[in-house]
Structures are given as C-alpha cells and as structure tokens.
C-alpha cells in the first residue's frame, strides 16, 4: 500500500472542503419569502448625526449634570467597573483640551480649557474601526450610517480600539455583569467578557420610534439628533445657523457629532 497515505490525505482534503462549502449551500437553499421587515413606527434617516450644544449645557444645565450619561448607561446596562484601567463608557465628559487636543489656546474666550465636553462615538462617515475589523463585527449600516457592533461576532482582537482616534471604544476586560450598578434593563442585553463595545446611537430605540436616550434625557435640549440628508431636520438647521466644530477633522474620518461652543 504505497500510495495509501497520499490518497488518504487527498480524500480528507476534499472532505474538509466539502464541509466548508456546506454553510454556503445553506444560504442558497433558503426560501426567498420576505419574512423580516423594518418596524413601521421606526424613526428613519439616511445619515444620522448629533449636534452637541455645549453652550446650552453649561449655561442652562445644572453644575455637574450627568443626566445624558446616566440615562445612556442605564438603558444599555453599561457597567461601572470602578477603575480607570478597565473603564467602560458609551458617553462621558472630558476637558476641552482633552476632547480637542492641539486646539488649546491660553487666550481662548470664556476659558474653554478645563471645561467639560461631552464625548461619544462619532459614527464617522469613514470609520477606521470598520476598516480594520477582521470579522466585520463592527460595520457601518448602509441605510443610516450608524456604526454598529455585532457582539455575536466580535473576537476581541481590539484592533478597532487601536484604530479609533477618538477613544470611543471600551473592552470588557472582565465579566461586566457584577458591575452593573444601575437597575438592570431587562429589555437590552448586557455584554460579556472579551468583547469590545461602544455607543450605538440607540439603534434599538430608533427602531421603536424613540430618540436616543441621551437626547431624551437632556432637560436643557443641549443634544439634538437628526438626519443630515434632510434639509429640514433639527441638525441641519443648527448646523446652518451656528459655527460648529468636529473632533480631529484633519484625519478625514468625517465625524457625525458636531459641537457648538
């Protein structure tokens, strides 16, 4: 039996190929009846964006207000790990010079330096995180531009965290469940150890016709959310009537979160 080993290898190779082709066959074998549709009550847009009016936030909001942050983190079961090292956050504040590094200017109006700015995922038009993800676990929704995470697919390589120039991504270094300090929102899943997470522009709320939780929670209307493709949307009107800034525009990512100062 001189050639048996070689033949065995050949046959097993073909078998392995056949196995990998199975899932493909599955897809084609499926019936083409449309079974899934968009929620009829969903908010729809082609290019979601947010305008953050920091002036309103500082002038009208109470000192140290965290309503938007608390609302978001409660709705999404975001844990409070209690250490800077493993912090998980979807929306948070940091100082002007940290959110807009390189834009410091000691003679700035109104002492911008040291003032809190709200930061969250920019849902970039050219998102580097999407470009680098090896499994398409993070992807840009073609219909409305939201940069989404598919937690089922994430392998936890953290390339997206290296890719994101805005520090918008957090990794679950440990099991987050014991650290969820807010009352568990039974309507939304938690995450588990080993996956990356970030703001999803409240895709699950938009689908039910609701605005993002942070926008809804802000009592002074400092956060506005809308469709950039619609000239009559709140965000387009705000952008047309105010000078706005975006974070690190020179990187070509085209952030979709705008700041009024």
């Amino acid at each position: 039996m001189e050639t048996s080993r070689r033949n065995f290898l050949k046959i097993s190779g073909v078998c392995a190929l056949g196995l990998t082709a199975l899932p493909v066959a599955d897809v084609f074998g499926e019936s083409d009846l449309p079974k899934a549709i968009k929620n009829p009550q969903a908010l729809t847009g082609q290019h979601w964006a947010m305008v953050v009016d920091m002036k309103k936030c500082w002038e009208k909001g109470k000192e140290g207000c965290k309503d938007c942050i608390l609302a978001c983190h409660a709705v999404h079961n975001v844990p409070d790990i209690g250490s800077i090292k493993e912090e998980i956050k979807w929306i948070w504040t940091n100082h002007y010079e940290n959110v807009f590094p390189g834009q410091e200017n000691e003679y700035n109006v109104k002492n911008l330096e040291g003032r809190p700015f709200i930061a969250l995922c920019n849902h970039c038009t050219n998102p580097p995180c999407v470009r680098v993800c090896p499994t398409q676990a993070t992807f840009k929704r073609p219909e409305d531009g939201i940069v989404m995470m598919d937690f089922h697919r994430c392998i936890g390589c953290r390339y997206c965290m290296a890719g994101c120039p805005y520090g918008a991504r957090s990794f679950n270094w440990r099991d987050p469940r014991p650290f969820i300090k807010t009352e568990l929102n039974m309507r939304f899943p938690t995450r588990e150890r080993g996956v990356v997470e970030k703001c999803n522009f409240c895709a699950e709320r938009l689908a039910e016709g609701l605005l993002p939780a942070c926008v809804e929670a802000c009592k002074v209307g400092a956060l506005s959310f809308g469709d950039l493709a619609d000239p009559n949307s709140v965000v387009r009107k705000l952008l047309a009537s105010h000078f706005t800034m975006r974070r690190k525009p020179e990187l070509g990512t085209q952030p979709n979160v705008y700041y009024i100062v």
Binding site: P23, I84, K85, E86, E87, I88, N94, E97, N98, V99, P101, G102, P128, R131, V132, C133, P134, T135, Q136, A137, R153, C154, I155, G156, C157, R158, Y159, M161, A162, G163, C164, P165, Y166, G167, S170, F171, N172, W173, R174, D175, R193, G194, V195, V196, K248, L251, G252, T253
Partner: protein, 387 residues
Amino acid sequence: MLERALTGDKRYYRWLMFLLVLMGLGFASYLYQFNKGLTITGLSRDVSWGFYIAQFTFLVGVAASAVMVVLPYYLHNVKVFGKITILGEFLAIASVTMCLLFIIVDLGKPMRLLNVLLYPTPNSILFWDMVVLNGYLFLNLLIGWNVLEAERKGVHYPNWVKPLIYISIPWAVSIHTVTAFLYAGLPGRHYWLTAIMAARFLASAFASGPALLILLAFLVKKYTKFDPGKEAIDKLSQIITYAMIISLFFVGLEVFTAFYSNIPSHMEAIEYLFFGIHGHGRLVPFMWLFLILAIVALVLLINPNTRKQEKTLKIACLATFFSMWLEKGLGLVIAGFIPNPFNEVREYAPTIPELMIAIGVWATGFFVLTILYKIATSVKEETAPSI
C-alpha cells in the same frame, strides 16, 4: 525523519523537560486568563495592546529574516549558506508558531477565532496578516522538510519545491510588510503613522533575526557534530552590521522628522520613550538600554577584528538581539498608545501572569525549534562525509 527527535542524550531531554515545565506554567497562567479574562494583564482601555502583540510583532521579524540566508543561497548561489539555510527555515517555523500563539493569547474571545475565516474581510490588514503568516508557515514547512528529506536520501529535492523557494522570498518580505501595515495605516496613532514603518521593521528584523541565527549556529556547533561553517557566520555578521546601521538610521529619521517639524503629536511618543512626559516615564530606562546596547553592538560589529572573533561576535549578537527586542518588542507597540487620544498618559506594565504566558509561548517556540534543529542536525551528521 521525526523519530530523530526522540533519540537524544540526557542533556537534550533535560532541556526539553525544562521547556515543558515552562510551557506548563504558561499554560496554567493561560487557563487563569481564560477564566478571568484579560483583566489579569496590565492592558487597559488606553493601552489596549501590550506585551503579547509586541512579542508577536518582534517575532514576525525573526521569522522574516530567514530570507536573509535563503535569498543569497538560492538566488545568488552563495554556497556558504548551503548548510545554514535549513536552520533559517526552521527558525522561521518556530517563530511563526510563536506569532500565532501570541495572537491567540491576546484575543478576548479565542473560541471565535474561526470567525476570521468565516467572514473574510479583505479591507482588514489583520485578515491579510493571518493569510500571509499561515502561508509562510506552510511554505517553510514544505520547503524545509522536503529539502532535508532529500538530503537524507542523498538526492536532489523534488523539482516542485524550487518555485516554492522562490515564492518564499518575497513572501518573507510580505509578512513583515503586512505586519507593519497593521500599525502604519491607523489615523491618530502618530508614532505608528509613518511611511518608513515597513522599512524600519524589515531593517530591524534583518538585524535581530540573523543575530539569533548566529547564536543558534554556535550552539549547534557546540552541542552537535554539525558545523554550520565559519564563512556562513561571517557573511551573516556582515548582514547584521548593515541591517543594524540602517535600523538606527531609520530611528534617527523618525526623530528628525518629529522634532524639526516640531509637531507636538509627532514628538510626544518619542519624548515619552526617552524622557517621559507629564511625569510618566516607565519605559525610559529600557529605551536608554536599547540605545546603549545598539551602540555596543555597532562598535563590535563595524570593527572587523571584533566581528570576526567568536567571543566578541557573540556579545555583538546578543546586544543586537536585545536592543532590537527592546525597541520593537516593547517600545514601539506601547508608545503608539501613549499619549492616548485625549492627550493623557496612561501607562502600561505587564503583570506576572501576562509575563508567564509570554514565557510559555517562547518556551513553546523553543521546544519546536529544538525538535526541528535536532532532526536537522541528526540528518546533517548522518550525511556528513566521515573523516
């Protein structure tokens, strides 16, 4: 041929046992990490890649450097490398094995590793890195094995191996280029965002890889009857000399561009590495050690007398290897994350379990290497003309 790995003297087995113990400790630490999560490492939200990925990056270089013996031998017919090519190829196999292991231990969800194949994503450099690394492993296994087997039988290796050898040459360059692209294509990580990243990687690889190869060749010569040959080592040491000079030159280029342009984001990572910023400078001693070792290596390598002497050459090789390890296997990856996107400094230091896992992976690599070298040297001893 495998059975040659099973017969050895006491020292051989003792060494393997030692490696197995380290592998066991590493594996136990990995189980700990597997159960607790990557929280047991020193990694953080801000420095999200660390020791593992740095080792991976460095070892890709060692793997790629095999080309430095294969290319002259097969393309330029540099005969003196004839004996040593197999050592280079087997070193590449062991290094790529370590690379793949370091990627796996770094994953948050290793069970989902196959997702990379299930959802192939050509726009991700990591996807390509996986493709080229596995391809390189496969190529070297095929080539090394067949060439050695042919040698054992005293025949010429099969003809179909030749094209694979030619392919393996640009392929070696590709693994390190693609690995450099992992870093060099990210907006907002200024230390990495440099067009010469791939060139820097290759230069430092062609210094550190052959340096390790020379040290291994000396070990092989000492412990077996197989002598890789003085001329081969001579030639390799010349390659190291040039590669080392070019490497340091490239580092100098980075420093010039950053500091003459005076752009803060370009200067900060380098300042952090060599002087510390915002009162943080954990890597400073390591980076100065890198510089000192690099200079020692250069002095010993450039001077032909010290380069040709076995003792000083060994020191030069050790200095080269460790200086490049500090620069690439430590500084480069970590400094890319410092300062973070908010211009804050959050430092990183590996933890004990993290180091244990890394040692376990290195031990695995050396285990593979030992076995492969055992086979190679046994075959060489058998086929060597008896005097």
